[in-house]
């Protein structure tokens, strides 16, 4: 496996864990974002940490987005106190939003061998709507700027 393939595999495995912890039957783009914030890859972490987005920062931003979106229609996330359900024993499938993020990341290069870890982050940051853009906005992170910094890191990487 190429270093990129190894990174991608690690990110997807991590995203599976995040989805299971979340009780989600599918891996969504939010789980991918948590995964890239967790996997120790310097080229990705330098971009994320400059925006204050370590794993805890991403988790807090996503949780805030969930609560905020529920509050819009007068619902509280803490509205029930049932015991936490057991986790799925199987690996969650890749969901639509995660597939789209990966396709966008892969689409940023014309040759597969040019793919770098930061392309996964770039694909995630290409989301036009949904939980990730909203979570970033609520956390005060400029998504466009973050994507630009990711592209810059990729350019530097190629030199």
């Amino acid at each position: 496996m190429s270093p990129f393939d190894e990174y991608l595999h690690a990110v997807i495995m991590r995203a599976h864990l995040e989805a299971r912890d979340d009780g989600s039957p599918t891996v969504e783009v939010a789980h991918l974002l948590l995964a890239v914030a967790t996997e120790p890859e310097p080229s990705v972490h330098s971009v994320l940490s400059a925006a204050g987005l370590d794993r805890d920062g991403v988790r807090a931003a996503l949780e805030r987005e969930f609560e905020h979106s529920l509050n819009v229609v007068g619902v509280s996330a803490a509205g029930h106190d049932l015991p936490r359900p057991s986790r799925l024993p199987t690996k969650p499938a890749l969901g639509t939003s995660a597939k789209l993020a990966l396709e966008r990341g892969f689409g940023a290069v014309s040759r597969k061998k040019d793919l770098r870890p930061a392309h996964v982050l770039l694909g995630i940051l290409s989301a036009q709507a949904g939980t990730v853009p909203r979570a970033l906005a609520l956390a005060g992170v400029d998504q466009e700027d973050l994507a630009a910094r990711t592209r810059l890191a990729l350019t530097d990487d190629n030199d």
């Binding site: 969930f66 007068g74 996330a77 049932l82 024993p89």
Partner: protein
């Protein structure tokens, strides 16, 4: 805002995000509630009727998870 009022989102992005968040909350609540009912000895037909779905649908969605969690499942109606 009084307790009786439900806010109406004016931004479509807010309204769509609320739909996604409510589905997620409903899924979480369903997982927790079905597990609680099955641990309390309910059978699949009763859980299905309570949710307004078929027995096959509720079984397909939850059986694997509950079996893996070691929940004793009733074969017959309870």
């Amino acid at each position: 805002m009084s307790d009786a009022e439900v806010p109406v989102p004016t931004d479509p992005a807010d309204a769509l995000a609320a739909v996604a968040a409510l589905r997620r909350l409903a899924d979480r609540l369903e997982d927790a509630a079905v597990e609680q009912a099955m641990r309390a000895g309910w059978g699949w037909p009763r859980v299905a009727e309570a949710l307004g779905v078929t027995r096959q649908a509720v079984y397909k969605k939850h059986a694997q998870r509950l079996i893996a969690a070691g929940v004793k499942l009733r074969r017959r109606e309870g």
